[in-house]
C-alpha cells in the first residue's frame, strides 16, 4: 500500500521526515526543505542585499546542498547576494584533489565563481608533508586549525562580506555533545550560534543549522546532485566518531534527539563567575586569538623548528619565547620532538 504525501495528498510519499514525522513526496519535500532554510536565513537576518557571500565548498554532501539551495533561494527570493564558492586545498593526495574536481564541476553546474586557497601557498606545508613529519596522531589538529584560517584568508583575498558553511543539525548536535564532554564552556556557548564573529574575523553562518543530515542526503540523492563521499585518508577523528554514533543511536530511537540536543545547547546559561578567554589578536599574523600567538602560528612554528608537538596541548609559558623567535632549552626541545607515533 503506497503512503500518500501528507502535504499535497496526491502523489506517493517518498520519505518520512525525521524532524516532523510527515510523509512527503519528492516535490513537496524539496519545497519544505528549501523553505525551512529560507526561514532560517530570514529570521536570523543572516545576509543583507548586495553582500558578497563565500560558500565554503568541500565537494561533500553538505556544502554541495548548501551551494545548490543558496543559488535557488537567491533567485527565488531575490536576496541580491553575490555568491562565490570558496574551497580549501589541504594538499591530501587521493582525497582533496578528487573532491576538488567535484567542486570544479559544481562551479560549472551552478554557474558560480570558485576560489581555491591551498595550505601550501598559505603556510608552506601541505597535509601530506605535515603527516610525514608529525605522523597520524595529531595531524587532524593541524588540519582543523589551518582550515579555519584558510577559509578566512581566502575570503579576505576575495573581499567577501560573509562566509557560510554547510554545518547541519547533526554536526551542531555532535559539537554540543563534544564540548560538553570536554568541559569546554567557551566553545559550548558559541557552538550553537547560527552566525558568529563580527569583530576581526569575517562573519560566518550556518544556514543548514536546523537541517537534518538524513534530509540533506536525500535532497542530494533525489536531486541527483554531484557530490564526493570518501573518508579523509588521514582522519580517524575518533572522538567525534563516538559522539556521532551515539547521536545516531539516539536518533534511531527518537528522531527529535538531534534538535533536542541543539536546543539544550542553545538554552544553557553560564554562571557569571565562569571566566571566559578574552579574544585578542595574534601578534604575528593578526588573526583573532585568545593568546599572544594564535594556534596556527604556534603549530607552524613547531613544524618549522622541527618540533611538531609544540602546538599540541597547552604551552602558554612558551608564548613569549616563540614570539621573540628565541631558542628553547634542550629540555623543552626534547618534549616537543616526535619520539613515538
Amino acid at each position: 500500500m503506497p503512503v500518500l504525501c501528507s502535504r499535497c495528498e496526491i502523489k506517493k510519499a517518498h520519505l518520512k521526515r525525521p524532524k516532523t514525522g510527515h510523509s512527503l513526496c519528492k516535490e513537496c519535500f524539496f519545497w519544505v526543505f528549501e523553505e525551512e532554510v529560507h526561514h532560517s536565513i530570514v529570521s536570523a537576518k543572516l545576509f543583507n542585499r548586495g553582500e558578497t557571500v563565500g560558500i565554503g565548498a568541500s565537494g561533500g554532501k553538505d556544502s554541495t546542498v548548501l551551494a545548490h539551495v543558496m543559488k535557488v533561494l537567491n533567485e527565488r527570493y531575490d536576496y541580491g547576494l553575490n555568491l562565490i564558492l570558496l574551497s580549501v586545498d589541504e594538499g591530501i593526495t587521493g582525497y582533496r584533489d578528487d573532491s576538488l574536481e567535484t567542486v570544479k564541476r559544481n562551479q560549472e553546474q551552478y554557474e558560480l565563481p570558485l576560489k581555491i586557497v591551498s595550505y601550501e601557498e598559505l603556510y608552506g606545508w601541505t597535509m601530506d608533508t605535515i603527516v610525514k613529519q608529525v605522523g597520524l596522531k595529531n595531524n587532524c589538529t593541524f588540519c582543523g586549525v589551518f582550515r579555519r584560517q584558510a577559509l578566512d584568508r581566502g575570503a579576505m583575498m576575495l573581499e567577501v562580506d560573509k562566509i557560510c558553511t554547510g554545518h547541519n543539525a547533526d554536526d551542531v548536535a555532535e559539537t554540543v555533545l563534544m564540548n560538553f564532554l570536554r568541559g569546554d564552556i567557551a566553545r559550548l556557548r558559541r557552538c550553537t550560534a547560527i552566525s558568529t564573529g563580527s569583530e576581526g574575523a569575517i562573519p560566518r553562518c550556518k544556514p543548514l543549522k536546523y537541517a537534518y543530515e538524513k534530509e540533506i542526503v536525500l535532497y542530494a540523492y533525489f536531486k541527483k546532485l554531484d557530490y564526493f563521499s570518501t573518508e579523509c585518508i588521514y582522519s580517524p577523528n575518533a572522538y567525534r566518531g563516538h559522539a556521532r554514533s551515539f547521536l545516531k543511536d539516539l536518533e534511531s530511537i527518537r528522531p527529535s534527539s538531534i534538535i533536542d540536543v541543539i536546543h539544550s545547547g542553545e538554552n544553557l546559561s553560564v554562571k557569571e563567575e565562569v571566566r571566559m578567554p578574552i579574544q585578542g589578536n595574534c601578534a604575528r599574523c593578526g588573526y583573532i586569538s585568545s593568546q599572544k600567538l594564535c594556534k596556527a602560528c604556534v603549530l607552524l612554528e613547531g613544524l618549522n623548528r622541527g618540533l611538531p608537538k609544540l602546538g599540541i596541548g597547552k604551552h602558554h609559558k612558551l608564548q613569549d619565547k616563540l614570539l621573540k623567535s628565541q631558542p628553547l632549552t634542550e629540555e623543552e626541545e626534547k618534549k616537543f620532538k616526535m619520539i613515538s607515533f
Binding site: 518520512k16 568541500s58 563521499s229 573518508e231
Partner: protein
C-alpha cells in the same frame, strides 16, 4: 510445500557505503528460492554473508543496518515500506546510502 521462486534484485551502495563492498556501487543479484518470500531482514543477512567485504559492523548492527545508513526501496524511504519486514519483489531496487561520511 510451496517454494517461492528465486528473485533478481538491484542493490546500490552510495555515500561512502560502497567502500565496504570493494568500491562497487551497483550489484545485480539473484536470491535463491526458499519456502517463505524474502524480506529485508533476510536480505541483510544475505548481504553480510555474500557481499560485504570488510568491517561488517560499519554496515550491520544487530539485525538491522547501522544507524546513519539510509535505505530506499524503489526510491522510497524504507520507513514508509515496513523496514525489515518489507517483502521483496522480483526486480526491486534497494539503495543503501551512508550519511556517516564527511560533508
Amino acid at each position: 510445500m510451496k517454494m517461492a521462486a528465486p528473485i533478481s534484485i538491484h542493490l546500490e551502495f552510495g555515500g561512502g557505503a560502497e567502500l565496504l563492498f570493494d568500491g562497487v556501487k551497483t550489484h545485480h543479484v539473484t536470491l535463491p528460492s526458499q519456502s517463505e518470500p524474502w524480506d529485508v531482514k533476510q536480505l541483510l543477512e544475505w548481504i553480510k554473508a555474500n557481499l560485504l567485504k570488510e568491517r561488517p559492523e560499519l554496515f550491520i548492527q544487530g539485525t538491522t543496518v547501522r544507524p546513519g545508513i539510509l535505505v530506499l526501496i524503489n526510491d522510497a524511504d524504507w520507513e514508509l515500506m515496513g523496514e525489515l519486514d518489507y517483502k521483496l519483489q522480483d526486480q526491486d531496487n534497494i539503495v543503501f546510502i551512508s550519511t556517516l561520511h564527511g560533508g
